[in-house]
Symmetry: D2
Subunit: 422 residues, 4 copies
C-alpha cells in the first residue's frame, strides 16, 4: 500500500505564516448566502461568526445585492477617493435621516479609510489634537486594531509584541467587573486623576468597547458606561466608543451605547456599516471637535462607492423602523435560553455564558475547552470562533438576519460539540 | 433683483472638515468609464489622476467588470477575513504565475488589510521584529500613510502634526538629488552608519518610494536605487520598497524597482493591485523574513474576495505578456514630448518637468502656479492634481489604459490651462 | 516719612525662578553645627529638615570634619573620576565590613555620579539592560529625581510637566494604602501581570521607596513590602529600592528595607551616604546583574574623594555597632509621643500623623494648613518643610544625631506653630 | 619555584564592572598637587588629563585650598539645598562681576544639580518647555551625559545601548568638517528646516560643544559656530552650548564660544566651575527664557557650599584679569609646536593633530595606536587618555596651571611613548 502525501496548498506555500482563520477552518470557501457558507466541495456551514461582525445582514444579502449589481452595471463610479459622488451623498442623507436624526445625534462624519484600525487611528489623532495631550486610556482586554496607534491601546500581548517598538502613550484601566467586584467602579482611575502626584499623564481621551468582542465577550453594564461617561465629562477627557464590532445593531440598537443612554464624543464604525462585507469605515464626532485641516488625515480608499451603495441600501432595509432591533433582542433571548440549558447540562464543566443582543460568549472551567468545541463544531458544519486572551471563550455571533430555525440548528450543533469534546 | 443663496450641500454640513478632493473638484460625480468620469449633470472629465494611482486599468474596466459581476451574481463569497477561498486561491495562483515567477521573485504574500497604510504598517512591524531594532530610515518628502506607524516615516509636516504625539523611531535621509548634486550619494547616510559615535540609532530598515508621487514626483535614478540596495545589504538593514502608488505598472514594469534591477526585502502594494479600484493590499517579503505568529497582525478586511476576482482578472488581462508595459513606456514618451514643448513655450515661467512611465510632474518657478493650473484644468474638463510639499507640482497620472488620443486631448487641455493662468 | 524700598537681592536678580527653598526660608545662612543652622545675622534655627535627608549625622559633624580636614590638609587626591584611590578603597572596605557583611548582603557597588537622580538613572538603565524590556513600574506619589529617566517614574505632575516631552515607559501602581484599604494589596497589579490581554507592557522592574518622603511621608507596611518582593520574584521583575532619602539610618536600620526582611535586587543610595552633606551616590546590585560594559555609564564626579573620606568616617563612627539604630528608634518614639499629644489637642483640625524612625508626617483636614505651620515655625526658629502633592504634610526629619532635648525643643516649637496658625 | 597569584583587589571584587579609568591606570592614587598625582607607592605621574577637564586649576590648588579649609574650619554651612547662603551669594556676586559683566552677558543662573548631565538635563527641559516642541538637534560624536535626556543627544553607540530604551526626540547633524569638506556647511540641516515635507520634527533647540572632547577633540571653526548661531536665530531654535568640558578657560577665554563672538541662549557649565574638582554645575540662560516654576527642577546637591567657596576663589584668582587666558594660548602654542615636530617625525605613521587652547588631539593612521601610546605613557609616568568613537585619539589636556617646564616634560614623555610603540 502506498501513501500519497498531500501536496501543500498554495496558501501554505505562498501565503505568510501570519494567516489565521484558514488554520481553524481548513477548507476553501466558494459561495455564501444568508447564514450559510459553502466550500468548494459544496459542503454547507452555518456561519455563527458573521465575518467577525462584518456580516450583520448575512452573506450576499439579496436586498443589497440588487442595489450593488445595478450600480456596477450602470458604471456608477467605483473609486473616487473623497470626491463628491452621488453614492456618497445618498449614503450621507440616509445616515443622517435614519441613524443620526432619530437618535438626536449631531455628529460630523469622517471617512477615515475603510477599516476598523483606520477609524480608530483617526479618532485617536483627533482626540489628541483637540486636547493637546498624548495619553489615552484604554481598558484591559481591549481590541482596537493593528496599526501602531490602535495597537498601543489594544491589550493582547502577542499582538502588541508584533509592533517591534515599545507601545506607549496608552494606559490600561480595569474594564467593568475586571476585579471581580472587589473594588468600587473607577476607584483607581478616579484617584489617579484627582491626585496631582499620581504619575498618570493627564489623558486626552478614553477609548472603550461596550462589549469586548475579541477580548472575551466582556459586557459592560449600562451603569458602568454611564459612570465612565460622567467621569470623562468631569475630568475633561473625550469619550471614544469603538463600535466597530458591536455597532450596526449587533447588540440590538444601531449603536451599542444607546442602551446606556450616553452620547460619546467620538464613535468608530466599520465592519457592518458597509452592509455587504465590503471595506468601509466612519469616524463620527461632535461638530466642535472637527478641527481637522483639509487633507490632514487622508487615504486612497475613503470613497469606496459600492460600499456606500450597499450601506445606504442596508440602512433603508433595516433601519427605517425598529423591526431589526426588536428581532435581535428576541433572537438574543433564544440564544440565552439555549445557553442556560447547555450550561445547566454541563454544570460539571464549569460552563457559563454572557452576552447581549446577538453577541454571546460561552466559557468553561478548562480554558482549553473552547478551542476544542470550535474545532468540533467546524467538523459538524458550524462556524464559531474563540475569543479572549487565552482563546477561552466560544463566541456566538450569527448574522442578525439569521432565522429562528437556523439559530436553533446552530445552537443544537454547538451543544453537540460541547458534548462530543467532553 | 433677488439673489438666492446656494444652500450648503450635505458634504458641507455633515462631512468633516478633513475632506479634501471634493474641495478641489466642486462637483458630484456619478458614473465613470475608462479614462472619463461624469458628474451628475452629465458633464465629462478626462481623468489624469486615476484615483491617485488606484485606477491604472481605468474606471470600471469592462474586462474586470465582467468577472466581478459574474462573481457577485453567483453569490461568490464576498467577505471571508483570511479564510481560504476559491477567489483568494485563484488570485495567489495568478500572482505567482504571472508576477513572481517570470521575475524570479520568491516572496511570501501577506494580506495586511486593504489599504496602503495597512501594508506599510505590516512591513514596518515585520522589519522591526526581524531585526530587533526600532529605528527606520525614510526619505525627505516620503509619503507612506496616515496611521501612526506609517505617518512616522512620512515627511509632510502638516500631516505629521495631525498625529498629536511626537513621531519618533524614524529618521529622514536625503532622497535622490535632494541636495542638488552638491554632495555624493549616501555620503551622510554612510558616515552615520560607519561611525559608532554618530548618534544614529542602528536602523532595522529603509523604506523608499522609487518615485515619490505625493512628495512631488521626485524620480530616483536606477543607479541611486542600486546604491541604496547595496548599502542596505552591506549595513544589515532591510530594504522596503513602498510600491503602493508606483507599482502595478505605473512606471512601465509591474514593479517600479525592476528597472533598477534590485530585489527589495519587503514590498508594499495596494491601490491598483485590486484592479477595479476596490480596497486591497499586499505585503511581500522574502521567505526567511516570515517570522509572524499566526494572527499576530490581523484585520477584518484582509479577504475582500471581489477585489481578488478583479485583481486576478487584471493580471490575466494585462500581465500575461509585456504589451501593457511597452505601451506605458510609449505613452510616457508621448507625455514627455508634449511637456518638452509646453516647457519650451513657457520658458519664461521657469517651467520644468520630470517623470517615468505614466507618472509626470510639471513645475513652475512660481510655486503657486500649479494650483491655479489644476483649477483651470478642472474648469476645462481635465482632472489633474498637485503634489509636493507646497502643492507646487502638477501631477500627470492618467490610467495606463488611456488611449493615445485621450492623452493628446488631455495634454492639450493642460497646455491651455497653463496659458490661461499666465 | 520716606519708605526706602528694599533692593532685590542677587538671589532675586540673578538666580533662576526655579529656586525654591530660599523662598520658604527667606534668610541667608552662614554657619551650621549639629542640629542648628545660623544665618548671617547670627540667628539660630533648629534644623528638622536635615538637608532633605542628606544630613543624618548633622551639620559639620566634628567626627567627620576632623577626617576631612586632615585629608584635605595632606593633599589627598580630591578629584579622580573613577580611578583607584586610597580614599575609595578605604570606603569600599568599610562599606563591605560594616554594612554589607553584617547584613549578609552581596552587592556590587557602582559609583554612578554623585546625586540621587544619577543613581536612579543607573538603576533603571541596568534593569532594562538585564531584562531587555523598557517598562518600569513606579508608585503613586513616588519621587525619584529630575533627569528624564528618573522623572518618568516620579509622580508629581508639576515636575513631570517640566520634562517638555511625554514621559513614557513607566506605569504607576497604587502605593500601600493608596486606595484606603478598599481593595486587596496588589489586586490590580497582579491581575495586569497574569492576564496576557491586559495591555500592560511586561515590566523590567519595580522601583519603590519604603517611605515616600517627598510624596507625603507615606509609610509602606513591612507586609506590603514583602508582598511586593514576592510578586517581583514570581513575575520576573527586578525590585529596586530607592533608599536615597530613607537609607543610612533614617528609619532606624542602615537600609530602610531591613525591617521588612527583604533583599532588593538593586538599591539606590545618595544624600547621607557621603556623611557630611557632600555629593555622593551608590548603586548596589546583585553580582549576577553586573552586566555593564566598562564605561557604559560614566560621569565626571563619580570619585569625589573627600566624600569617600567622610563617608568612611561616618560608617566607622555610627555603624560599627547598633547604637545609632537603637537611638533612632527611641527618638522616633519621642516624636510619636509628642505628635499623639499634638493631634489630640487639635482633634478639631483633623490632625493626624504617620512615620517610622526619624521621619514623620503631620497632616490636617485643611490641606493648606501645613504651609502655614511651616511658615510660622520658621519665624519661631524651626526649619520644617512640607511634602505631598498638595504640600499638605508637615515633614519632621531632624538629624539622627539630634539630642533628646533638641527634639523636645523643636517639637514644642512645632506645637506652638500649629496653635499660632489656628 | 612557587608562583603566588596576586589576590584580586577590592576594586575588582566589589566595584561594578562599569569601572573604567582604574582599568587604564592600574594603580591606587593617594595624593595630588598641581600637575602631579602620586600613587600609594609614592610614584609621581604628570597629569595631562586634568580630571577630564574638572581640574583646570590643577590638583588641590593652594589658593583655593586655603579658602576651602578656612570655610570648613569655621563651620561654614556645607549643605543647604538651594537655600540662600553666604557662600552662594559670594559666588553669584563674583560670577556676575568677573564673568558676566565684563563679557556683556545677562544670563540667569540655575543650580541644576552638581554634574554635567544635570545641567544638560535642565537645559533640554527648559528649551522644550519654552518652545513647546520635543525635538533637539545634536551633532555627530557629541557627548552630553549619561542620564536619559542627555544620553539621547550623545553619539556613542555603546553608551546609547546602555539606556535599555530607544533614545528618541534627538536627531544628529554633521559636526563641523564631518563630511570632509565635501558639502557646504549646514546644507542638509538647512534644507530639512526649510522644506515642510522633509520629515524633520521642528526642533526646540540645538545643543553643541565648540570642541568635542570625548568625541575625538573635534574643533569647530568660529565661522561654523557663527553659521550655526545664525541658523538657530533664523529658524527659531534655541542654541545651547555645552561648555562643561571646554568652558572655564580650557580653550583660552572663560567661555569657549567667546572666540566665535556668539551668544548662546543657554550655556551648560560644570567640571572646572567648582575650581577644586568638587561637584558643581550651572545652567545659564537669557532672562526671557526663565519660565521655570519654583521647584520645577530640583535636587539635593544644588547648594554644595564648599564648591561655591572654591569656585569664587578661583574666579578671583584667575579671572580678575586676562593673565590666565593669555597664558593658556601661549602654552597651547607650546603644545602645538611639539606636536608639529612629533607628527613630522612620525610622518610614516600618518600622525596628525588638532586643538585649541590647552585641548589637543593626536591621531595615527592605525586607529589602535592611541591606546598603545597612552598605555606606554602611563608606564613612563604620564597620564593621557584616548577619546573618539574608536579611542583613536590621544587627548592632551593638562591643567591650565601647568608650568612650561612641566609641559615640556610631558610632551617629551609623549614623544617617547609614540616612539616606544612603533
Amino acid at each position: 500500500m502506498t501513501i500519497t502525501p498531500v501536496a501543500p496548498t498554495i496558501f501554505e506555500t505562498r501565503e505568510s505564516a501570519v494567516r489565521s482563520y484558514c488554520r481553524s477552518w481548513p477548507t476553501v470557501f466558494d459561495r455564501a448566502q444568508g447564514s450559510r457558507m459553502f466550500d468548494e466541495e459544496g459542503r454547507a456551514y452555518l456561519d455563527f461568526f458573521a465575518g467577525a461582525g462584518a456580516l450583520n445582514y448575512g452573506h450576499n444579502n439579496p436586498l443589497l445585492k440588487r442595489a450593488l449589481l445595478e450600480y456596477l452595471e450602470r458604471d456608477g463610479v467605483t473609486h473616487s477617493l473623497d470626491m463628491g459622488s452621488v453614492a456618497k451623498r445618498t449614503f450621507l442623507e440616509k445616515f443622517e435621516e435614519l441613524v443620526l436624526q432619530p437618535r438626536g445625534l449631531d455628529y460630523r462624519v469622517q471617512f477615515p479609510g475603510p477599516t476598523g484600525t483606520n477609524t480608530v487611528e483617526a479618532a485617536l489623532k483627533l482626540a489628541r489634537k483637540v486636547k493637546g495631550r498624548e495619553s489615552v486610556i484604554s481598558f484591559t482586554n481591549a481590541f482596537h486594531g493593528m496599526s501602531l496607534g490602535a495597537l498601543a491601546v489594544t491589550g493582547n500581548s502577542m499582538k502588541r509584541a508584533g509592533a517591534g517598538i515599545p507601545l506607549v502613550h496608552g494606559t490600561p484601566m480595569p474594564f467593568d467587573n475586571y476585579l471581580d467586584g472587589l473594588t468600587p467602579d473607577f476607584l483607581w482611575f478616579e484617584r489617579l486623576l484627582e491626585d496631582s502626584g499620581s504619575g498618570l499623564n493627564q489623558p486626552a481621551a478614553v477609548i472603550v468597547e461596550t462589549v469586548q468582542g475579541e477580548g472575551g465577550v466582556n459586557v459592560a453594564r449600562p451603569s458602568w458606561l454611564r459612570g465612565l461617561a460622567e467621569l470623562c465629562a468631569r475630568r475633561d477627557m473625550l469619550l471614544i466608543v469603538d463600535d466597530v464590532q458591536m455597532g450596526c445593531g449587533r447588540t440590538g440598537p444601531f449603536f451599542s451605547f444607546e442602551e446606556a443612554g450616553i452620547v460619546p464624543d467620538i464613535v468608530c464604525l466599520s465592519k457592518s456599516i458597509g452592509g455587504y462585507g465590503m471595506p468601509m469605515a466612519l469616524t463620527l464626532f461632535r461638530p466642535e471637535l472637527d478641527v481637522w485641516e483639509p487633507g490632514e488625515h487622508n487615504g486612497t480608499f475613503r470613497g469606496h462607492n459600492p460600499a456606500f451603495v450597499t450601506s445606504a441600501a442596508a440602512l433603508d432595509a433595516y433601519w427605517s423602523d425598529d423591526h431589526l432591533e426588536k428581532q435581535t433582542l428576541v433572537k438574543g433571548e433564544q440564544v440565552a435560553a439555549a445557553l442556560v440549558e447547555l450550561c445547566a447540562e454541563h454544570r460539571g464543566l464549569g460552563a457559563s455564558f454572557r452576552g447581549r443582543g446577538l453577541i454571546w460568549g460561552l466559557t468553561f472551567a478548562d480554558t482549553r475547552r473552547a478551542v476544542a468545541v470550535c474545532r468540533r463544531a467546524f467538523e459538524l458544519g458550524l462556524l464559531v470562533e474563540t475569543s479572549g486572551p487565552k482563546s477561552e471563550v466560544v463566541k456566538v455571533m450569527p448574522p442578525l438576519t439569521v432565522s429562528p430555525d437556523e439559530l436553533d440548528e446552530g445552537l443544537a450543533v454547538l451543544g453537540r460539540a460541547v458534548r462530543d469534546t467532553a
